[in-house]
């Protein structure tokens, strides 16, 4: 599938551009942040494209005003700026008023590795998860991301979409394989344990599962692409028969999907034991490419495999 050698960002905005050509109510607001197809957006749909400048608080407020008037608004910036710089605007203008604005954050986890902690997306899931009326999507590949660009007229409250600049190899071959009503996909069943992963960590989880299979550990993988609302009942039905659950995310261990699963497990009797794998709650303070930073906090395939192998051995 040649088309998908592009990352999530370009797939997402290519899809949004084609939607916006059909639906003139769609408005894209960017906070001085680009993407390849934005030029076409700006040129062909100039009434539907706003570069609001480096002013994220105003970006959310203006988006709210447009959404109240029936516009389908997408706002776009790098994760920390799209979520944290304007957090209280998201809370009051979008969540309190249940406005269906789409917040698109680029740069999940260490995606912008060498730009340092200011540009890392390591707290966004935690922050967005605590807001009432918020929906959170964290796609694992470019196909999922492109489908998330389609507007949903039934949407109540804002939607946060956490994108990665990478997005291939694809996790899914066909869009029919992604059940958006469920919010997660079981990519393989496992007798010994399930890895519940989100974003590009799903691809890592599949590689880890393959390696552990070679060591006779039967691992299932779940792609949790909708983090909120969290489909607790259906996920529990999948994992309750296993002995162990591992959560895997490129996000701080505090408040992310590890916390969401822990909140579920804490309410269940005879629940599987849980190991959360993610970024420790500290700013990395060192520089390097993304792979280097992942290795630094043992979020690379080797590190994750070793971590799980040892944990399984300790908890036979």
């Amino acid at each position: 599938m040649e088309h998908w050698v592009e990352g999530m960002r370009d797939s997402f905005f290519r899809s949004l551009l084609s939607e916006a050509k059909k639906n003139r109510d769609i408005v894209l607001i960017v906070a001085d942040t680009g993407a390849i197809c934005h030029d076409e957006f700006k040129e062909k749909l100039s009434d539907q494209y706003i570069n609001i400048g480096i002013a994220e608080q105003n970006m959310i407020g203006v988006a709210a005003g447009l959404a109240i008037s029936g516009k389908i608004v997408y706002v776009y910036a790098i994760v920390p700026f799209a979520t944290m710089r304007c957090y209280e605007q998201i809370r009051v203008d979008l969540c309190c008023m249940k406005l269906p604005v789409n917040i698109v954050g680029i740069g999940a986890g260490f995606d912008y590795a060498t730009l340092g902690a200011t540009h890392h997306g390591t707290e966004d899931i935690s922050l967005m998860r605590s807001l009432p009326n918020m929906t959170i999507y964290s796609p694992a590949d470019s196909l999922t991301a492109s489908l998330l660009a389609k507007p949903n007229r039934q949407q109540i409250g804002p939607k946060y979409i956490r994108l990665d600049r990478t997005g291939f190899p694809l996790i899914y071959n066909n869009k029919e394989d992604i059940d958006f009503s469920k919010g997660f996909s079981v990519l393989g069943k496992g007798k010994d344990l399930y890895i519940i992963a989100t974003g590009r960590m799903v691809y890592a989880a599949l590689q880890v599962a393959e390696r552990l299979a070679a060591k006779s550990i039967d691992v299932g993988v779940i792609d949790l692409f909708r983090i909120k609302p969290f489909n607790q009942e259906m996920i529990w039905n999948v994992v309750k028969k296993t002995k162990r659950i591992v959560t895997l995310e490129e996000h701080f261990l505090t408040g992310g999907i590890g916390s969401a699963i822990a909140e579920m497990v804490a309410t269940k009797k005879n629940a599987p034991i849980l190991r959360s794998i993610g970024i420790p709650n500290q700013f990395c303070g060192i520089y390097g490419e993304r792979k280097y930073l992942q290795k630094w906090c043992k979020l690379d395939v080797n590190g994750i495999t070793k971590n799980i192998k040892e944990w399984v051995k300790e908890n036979l």
């Binding site: 608080q57 105003n58 005003g65 203008d93």
Partner: protein, 289 residues
Amino acid sequence: MKDKIVKGKNLSSEKVSEFKKLAKWVRKKILEMAVGAGAGHIAPSFSCVEILVAIYYSGFLRINQKDSKLENRDRFILSKGHAAPALYAILADKGFFPLSDLDRFAKEGSHLGCHPEDSTPGIEIFTGSLGHGLPVGAGLALSAKLDKKRYLVAALLGDGECHEGSVWEAAMFAAQYQLNNLLAIIDHNGLSATGVLKNYLGVEPLKKKWESFGWDAVLVDGHSFEELFSVLKFASSRSSNKPLVIIALTTKGKGISFMENNPIWHYRVPKGEELEIARKELNLVNKEV
């Protein structure tokens, strides 16, 4: 210091005294609500009573209480949301909800709290946190432009609220997009929750600041109906491409002598002797509160 634009005397003295009476009634309701609930921002509400009366009773704001979501209505945003009691009294008087709702202000199960929520008829947006009204108002004004609609958007801000960076982000944006259908009104009483602005973070020269951000700016007496009616008439008929700010000079706590210009009354409800004085100054007999 006053602008030419507000010199017109197109309001009869009978009308002025009628609106003064109305303003007094609004102040009375504010005091009743706050005393009844033991909560609410009396002094910040008193500061903008004449401004709100002018906005809602001069014919400036084209709204319909029978259909509060009418598509082409003008939008008013109380960005200084803590003045909600003043707005509630006016909306109730206009018939957006029953007057008896005011008696339940901030009490158990009431839909009227110390800050306005968009679920209340006549309230456009959720405010209470400062610095939100102008950005959202700019979005509403832009929407009108995009859809070629002719409604106006007016937002009432506090002067202390102008400390918020988001106000100036929106100010820049509104000028860039020539949102001449957007009006900001600043309740310029010089005080905030804890002090006198000029003593800790001054906002002057306020008019020049707005002008340098690309806005038309007018300075008026925020307690004079003649000036307020006149400037609102100007606001709805002008031909500039720029957004307009009306800087209304006001007195925080206006109407009760011991509250006037005293920051401690930002969020305090009078009790005992203070309450007696307040009632007396608003010409209320005890049983009315």
